[in-house]
Amino acid sequence: MSDISRRQFLGTGVTAMAGGIIAATSIPHLAFAVGPEVSGILGVYRSAVRVGGRIYALITVQGADAVYLLEGHGTGRFEPTSPVEVDAPRGFFATSLAAHDGDLLVCGGRAEAWKSYDVDDALPPGLEAEFDRLPRNIPRGGRRRETVMGSVPHIVRISSGRSVQVSPASTAERAHEFVLGAGSDGHGLLLVLLGHTADLHESGEAVELEVGTGDAEVGKRMAIRGRLSHAAYASITVGFSDAAVVAEMDDGVPRIAQRSGGWETAVLGGATRGRHVAVLRDGEPAAIASIANGVVRIREFLDPERTMLGSTLYSREAIDVLPLSGDGSGVLIVDRHWTELVEV
């Protein structure tokens, strides 16, 4: 694969972040959460996973994604140590980490030209005089070809230190499709959450979700009903026999869909503002961790009403809560100073 650029996946030449920590915005937008320092620079924790007893985190530092091994300092606190070498194809963007067969998976998408069309930048005779106010943003050129970029699902599997490229099947009519999350069930089956843009081409943001397997036929995928909100979060938590997708839909309401329920969506009862993720307990998705205004709460969901009983897990100045999938359970709470592993 000649287009694989061998790089450490970590941007170089980063500078201190001007603007510093950006405060949480109110709904509907999620905070642009900036966590503890990584090599002296503030980083954004995106996802975490436990593989073979080790905890890895996907952290973005100044716009560059990197996977770090986290090292514990007792009392459940962790810090990023060395970056993991990830060989990704050009145009790869990471969304989350997962585990499968003892391997670390870096999930995301790969930019690819989707289509192109001709445009003409020549100023036709007489047209300049038609304007009341001449635009400043159009070049005075001639005909050119405009390429519209799209994206396709892509996973980088780190197996014994080697990067193996995995491209789940994609649907050509969709401009953008990418892996939002993944997880391995008790039978070793890799479940993949895909976000896609359906019939919309303008934006790369996912508007709909599907659950498939790592390499399955497109037709085998299960669609999660409904369209996502503009500030949508969406994640999958895979347990031994069940799995749960939690996402915010375009009416602003968070919903849960479970494998055991045929991926039918249900409103997340008692849900508050902020972000919600399903977390594992005894190997199955059985609780919801929510973060809003710096406070993390953990709630059970009880079938069939899914009434939630809340308890405060962390009330200091949490920035984000990441479900810890892979082997074991718990959540990784990111605050401004450290990350903390909390069993649930």
């Binding site: 999620l30 003409d120 106010r133 970029m149 081409h201 303008e202």
Partner: protein, 249 residues
């Protein structure tokens, strides 16, 4: 590239666009009539190049609202610039979610209410979307999908370009223009079919711009959108301001 990772390159902190007086205010909720309630002046982090384009947009927009509607800009409302979301231009400060524009006479365009209100407000909303589209390749409105019924999203992931009939965002913008400036009676469904094509040709002729092709020429697309903006803020039906291609046949 179709989005970016979480982090703003060339960040600038700004609490205005266009003129320092045109402050950015954050929407915190809604009034009982559906218009947004906004707080005081606040600061956002933008990618510098994107902010410069927002600055150009605001100056141009104020020119049209002032010249054609006697409505100088007072302030802009928003619900955010940066959000760490997969494959989004928001992730690097190159997208803006606009909630309202208030004018110095107390008038406004509200992105949750104006598009579903009376003709004057529908035209103001349309004029705002059309002027944004003259600056940015991607402008997503309430007509585009329900996720944008309470704000207009715009980003500079793609540069200003021609009217794209296969794009839902451009098709709904043209359908709304045909309806609210030329009484076309189309359903704003985002599908460019024969009825939309006929209404679009009628609108071009009403503007006396039928000798240009906004579907292939970027300059023609810009002048077509300018005509929409002029009519929207003058609150006139198509044909009040005309180009030089001759009258309707």
């Amino acid at each position: 590239m179709s989005g970016c990772s979480c982090g703003v390159s060339n960040p600038v902190s700004k609490d205005y666009i266009g003129s320092t007086a045109w402050e950015l205010r954050h929407r915190t909720g809604y009034a009982s009539n559906g218009t947004g309630v906004h707080g005081g002046r606040h600061t956002h982090t933008f990618n510098e190049g994107f902010w410069n384009q927002c600055d150009d947009f605001a100056e141009d927009y104020n020119y049209y609202t002032s010249t054609y509607g006697s409505k100088p800009v007072d302030w802009f409302g928003d619900i955010g610039i940066v959000a760490c979301k997969a494959n989004s231009w928001h992730a690097c400060g190159r997208a803006f979610d606009l909630t309202a524009v208030y004018f110095t006479d107390g008038g406004y365009v509200d992105c949750n209410r104006s598009w579903r209100w009376g003709l004057t407000h529908k035209r103001r909303y349309l004029g705002l979307a059309a002027q944004l589209r003259r600056e940015f390749g991607t402008v997503l409105t309430a007509w585009y999908n329900t996720a944008h019924k309470n704000h207009i999203h715009f980003d500079n992931g793609s540069a200003f370009t021609v009217i794209r009939t296969s794009y839902r965002s451009d098709t709904t913008l043209v359908q709304a223009s045909c309806n609210y400036l030329d009484s076309a009676g189309l359903s704003i469904d985002g599908v460019w079919g024969p009825r939309t094509e006929a209404a679009y040709q009628n609108l071009l002729r009403a503007f006396h711009l039928q000798c240009y092709d906004p579907k292939t020429s970027t300059w023609a697309a810009s002048v077509f959108l300018e005509k929409i903006v002029q009519h929207c803020y003058a609150n006139k039906s198509a044909g009040y301001y005309v180009g030089s291609c001759g009258g309707p046949t």
